[in-house]
């Protein structure tokens, strides 16, 4: 009986020690470094004129709030624009430029632009290390005045080279949005 009692005693002392080790340390918050909150395209018309920005911003990341879309103005018909795109993580301050990571891993990324309507073409102005398109710099040409849509997607680990469609490229979508644009 003595043995049992001492074992029981030891066991319960052990448990109470463990139970008392409650140090209530507050956990550290996690800063999500990879989150993309913001995509911003800047279109500079050749031969001068107003720059146009197209932006999507979702400051709570995967949270419940809906991304906010903003297009600064209408595009001009029959114009060539030089385009650039940036991806930002604005949950950090100052905002982290995710575009740099995309550039560093250019062979694992591609930005896809799929226009319709009055945007007549989009051509890539940059390449990854293997000579395949990357899409951080591009040229956009508008046609006659009218309505247009532009779908923009950043894909991680797509098949490269691909035929320019998302279906062929596969991979994971890190960003996607579609914009209704007026060309006047």
């Amino acid at each position: 009986m003595k043995t049992i009692k001492s074992i029981l005693l030891l066991a319960f002392i052990g448990l109470s020690f463990v139970a008392c080790s409650d140090d209530d340390n507050a956990p550290a918050p996690v800063n999500e470094e990879e989150t993309i909150t913001t995509m911003r395209i800047t279109l500079v018309p050749e031969g001068g004129g107003t720059n146009i920005t197209i932006q999507t911003q979702d400051l709570d990341g995967d949270g419940p709030n809906t991304p906010v879309r903003d297009i600064s103005g209408n595009l001009t018909a029959n114009t060539t624009y030089t385009g650039s795109i940036v991806f930002l993580n604005e949950t950090e301050s100052p905002a982290e430029d995710i575009t740099e990571e995309v550039e560093e891993e250019d062979d694992e990324h591609q930005v896809f632009y799929i226009p319709s309507g009055s945007i007549s073409s989009i051509t890539y102005n940059d390449q990854d290390g293997n000579g395949n398109p990357l899409g951080l710099a591009f040229t956009l040409e508008t046609g006659a005045a009218g309505n247009a849509t532009l779908e923009v997607s950043l894909v991680h680990e797509p098949k490269k080279p691909n035929d320019g469609t998302l279906t062929d490229a596969g991979g994971e979508t890190d960003f996607t949005d579609t914009y209704a644009i007026t060309v006047e």
Binding site: G14, E32, E34, D58, D62, P64, E105, T149, G171, D177
Partner: protein, 803 residues
């Protein structure tokens, strides 16, 4: 039970002093059949001894024994057989009596070390219960526990590929299924759909499944059931023995090796060491390589102790480490990626075969330490005291940008201490009572260095449990049992919520006082939740005079919500969905009724097991809406509570057509319904029909060959598909997330031969082929069914050396 015969006899005499009745009544006969416990075949040459009268009878070819000229009264029978463990039983003779005796035919150890006593005892009296013996477990030496358990009726699994197999009992899995590993309840983050039990199948001597919550000694929340993995018994004699199993597997181009060695002493001391290593590369479907589906597993255990009949102790440490690569094509970005995967019919990424384990992958390490002490008190019963420690560390690596491939996205460390004690009061002939207490402390640490918001928060949990179970033998034909259990759970969590999520959930109305710190976009919150759970069971077993066995059991079980159901909050990449838990979730309550009808005839037998399970406040995860992020739109899956009903039946039959030919037939069906909405429950296994024919010829080196057919029906009862907005198509589209794949039929083959070298050494060779016809198929309960076909043909060659 391993103990000396002397002790048994003394106990038998003390406990059951024979009652000799009227002197003129000494003309009764006692007869019956001695059968093998597993194969249900008659045992010839078994010795049946009546201790009180020293009368002896040797069984005939048909296993029949007879005693005549007995007086009415209670007798103690000792039944022994050269190949089986000896058992003692009490019988009451009151008129001519027939008693059937089942012996545990544990060929494995008996061949090698002549062990006495390896009775795998039933854990319950009246519940549905089935056991996998060592032979079957060894067939799955290169597989995993979940696959082996599917040999049992009513057991299925929820898979993530071939390496992550979560057992499901009567259609329920995860926290509703308890896993007991050598008396220790596994604390291995069973709440996750892609978390398999961290238990090496090679470390178990037998695995029993109790299909319900009736085994209250293990826990009161087993709404699905309990899986009990036990160690093989170690004989109390001077001996040393071991075995090594080497398996080669064609699909995955790898294999595994298992080795174990046991040393035991007459004095009661023993020590046993065991280790296993498994390595497989990419698996293959019939038409393509399943890229990134390799696995590596390392497990080891050491056990030592001293066992006497009156007291003993043992200590065990086990280590389990697994690294599992997850199908590359199953890691996707948004709904359009998922739609593309579903429509394309083959994985988006197929690379040449490799052994490399790349991202996405998971790595899990489980340490388990246990210390147990028991003591028998003469004229009272047996006391057990146990302490166990578990540490479960889980890393999940995702496809990440930047230099983050070696930083896990999930890094959780779950530490558990448990102290338990129980006392079995078993001195009365007809009543057994078991009482027990349990205390548990658990700590979960979610490492913030992942750079990804925590899926499961830091928490501390305290559990307390107590139970009382009784068994009452009314007559030799009727046994009744009943039990009650109370459990208290308290969970103290520290979780960061996005402020936007906190408000969207409505927590700012209900739980604003829980906020500890406001970090502007994030809130640190300290929910402290407690739950009281009551469970109970009552049942009976009745054996009619012609051998029909009837069991009826009712079990009430209550389960507190798990951390995933309470705290989930984020995007799940493999499922392209946002999963949301709810702090308001209460415990769920199950009422389950099971019945068993079993009858063995001379050459055949049947088993029919219908059941019904009504669950109040059943916690389901189901799609409720859509949220938009910069990655596109995602369906939102929320945990909510409803009422559910599960109805099912398991049927099995066997027939010995000749001495050499046996056929076995099994059918399982379960139907799950949300009774509030009248919609089918998700992830309920489809009906399953298995038939096998086995030819055995022991004189040809123990030759055995069997062919098995498995037909899995299509699951026609699923929840509806959901509509989501496709950014690419700019319109709402149907996401066929709930459409079940077609029915399929698989053939399997297995053959075995044994080559004894000496009386101590034996080589057993096994050749098995699964998916013999290389059939293309997908299974409803495989989470990777959206992305790729299931496994193609696989050859397994196994060499086992016992020494």
């Amino acid at each position: 039970m391993v103990f000396s015969n002397k002790a048994v006899i003394i106990i038998a005499f003390i406990s059951f002093f024979p009652i000799f009745g009227n002197s003129q009544q000494c003309e009764y006969t006692l007869s019956g059949q001695v059968m093998d416990y597993h194969q249900k075949t008659p045992l010839e040459g078994a010795t049946v001894l009546i201790l009180e009268t020293k009368m002896e009878s040797i069984t005939t070819v048909n296993g029949v024994y007879t005693f005549s000229n007995l007086c009415s009264g209670t007798y103690t029978l000792e039944v022994s057989h050269p190949e089986c463990s000896t058992i003692m039983m009490n019988v009451r003779v009151d008129g001519d009596t027939e008693i059937e005796v089942k012996l545990e035919h544990h060929l494995e150890e008996l061949d090698e070390v002549k062990v006495v006593g390896n009775i795998i005892r039933d854990k319950t009296n009246s519940a549905q219960e089935e056991t996998l013996n060592l032979n079957t477990l060894e067939n799955y030496s290169a597989g995993n526990l979940g696959d082996a358990l599917k040999e049992l009726g009513g057991v299925s699994s929820l898979n993530t590929g071939a390496n992550i197999v979560k057992p499901a009992i009567h259609g329920l899995n995860g926290s509703r299924v308890l896993v007991l590993n050598d008396g220790v309840r596994m604390q291995d983050m069973e709440w996750g759909a892609e978390h398999a039990p961290t238990l090496d199948i090679n470390s178990a001597g037998s695995v029993s499944v109790i299909k319900g919550a009736s085994a209250l000694q293990y826990g009161g929340d087993a709404i699905g059931g309990v899986i009990v993995a036990e160690q093989a018994r170690i004989p109390r004699r001077d001996s040393i023995y071991g075995k090594t199993i080497l398996s080669g597997v064609s699909n995955g181009r790898g294999g595994n090796i298992v080795t174990e060695l046991t040393k035991s002493y007459e004095s009661g001391w023993f020590i046993k060491g065991q280790g296993s290593y498994k390595r497989l590369g990419d698996h293959e479907a019939p038409d393509y390589v399943l890229s990134n589906t390799g696995v590596q597993e390392i497990a080891a255990s050491l056990q030592l102790g001293k066992h006497h009949f009156t007291w003993g102790w043992d200590a065990r440490y086990s280590y389990f480490n697994t690294e599992i690569a997850i199908l590359r094509a199953s890691h996707i970005g948004n709904v359009d990626d998922l739609i593309r995967s579903i429509n394309s019919g083959e994985p988006s990424i197929i690379r040449p075969f490799t052994y490399d384990l790349q991202n996405p992958r998971q790595e899990v390490t489980h340490h388990l330490g246990k210390l147990k002490f028991y003591k028998r008190f003469e004229g009272l019963g047996k006391l057990n005291v146990q302490y166990d420690f578990q540490s479960n560390r889980r890393f999940e690596y995702d496809i990440r940008r930047g230099e983050r491939d070696n930083i896990p996205s999930i890094d959780l460390e779950l530490t558990t201490h448990t102290v338990s004690t129980d006392f079995k009061w078993d001195t009365k002939d007809d009543i057994n009572i078991l009482v027990g207490l349990m205390g548990r402390y658990q700590d979960n640490f979610a490492n913030p260095d992942t750079g990804v918001r925590r899926l499961i928060p830091d928490y501390e949990k305290i559990d307390f449990g107590s139970f009382l179970i009784g068994e009452y033998r009314v007559t030799n034909q009727l046994l009744l049992d009943a039990g009650i259990r109370y459990d208290y759970n308290k969970i103290d969590a520290q979780k960061f919520y996005r402020t936007s999520r906190w408000e969207e959930r409505g927590y700012d109305n209900d739980f604003q006082d829980l906020i500890v710190e406001d970090l502007d976009t994030q809130l640190l919150v300290n929910p402290v939740l407690d739950y009281h759970n009551f469970s109970a069971t009552v049942g009976g077993k009745y054996i009619t005079t012609n051998g029909l066995q009837l069991k009826l059991n009712y079990a009430l079980a209550q389960r507190a919500p798990n951390p995933s159901e309470l705290f989930s909050d984020g995007l799940h990449h493999s499922a392209a969905r946002i999963e949301l838990g709810d702090l308001r979730i209460e415990n769920e309550t199950s009422h389950k009724i099971t019945t068993t009808l079993e009858k063995d005839f001379s050459t055949w037998g049947i088993l029919l097991e219908p059941y019904a399970n009504w669950v109040q406040n059943f916690i389901v995860l189901e799609p409720t809406g859509v949220e938009f992020t910069v990655r596109g739109s995602f369906p939102v899956w929320e945990y909510r509570q409803t009422n559910a009903r599960l109805l099912g039946v398991d049927f099995s039959a066997y027939s010995n057509w000749t001495d050499h030919w046996i056929t076995e037939h099994k059918f399982s069906l379960v139907k799950g319904q949300d009774t509030d909405t009248d919609i089918a429950l998700i992830n309920i296994p489809a009906a399953n029909w298995r038939n096998s024919v086995t030819f055995s010829k022991p004189e040809w080196n123990g030759f055995e060959a069997s062919l098995e057919s498995q037909y899995v029906f299509r699951q026609n009862e699923t929840p509806d598909n959901i509509m989501v907005f496709s950014p690419q198509q700019q319109e709402d589209v149907v996401l066929e997330i709930n459409t079940a794949p077609d029915a399929y039929h698989l053939l399997g083959f297995r053959s075995k031969m044994e080559f004894p070298f000496s009386n101590k050494t034996k080589l057993t060779t096994t050749l098995a082929v699964s998916n013999l016809l290389n059939t293309n198929y997908r299974d409803y309960l495989n989470r990777q069914r959206f992305f790729a076909d299931d496994l193609g043909r696989n050859f397994t060659l196994q060499l086992k050396l016992n020494y």
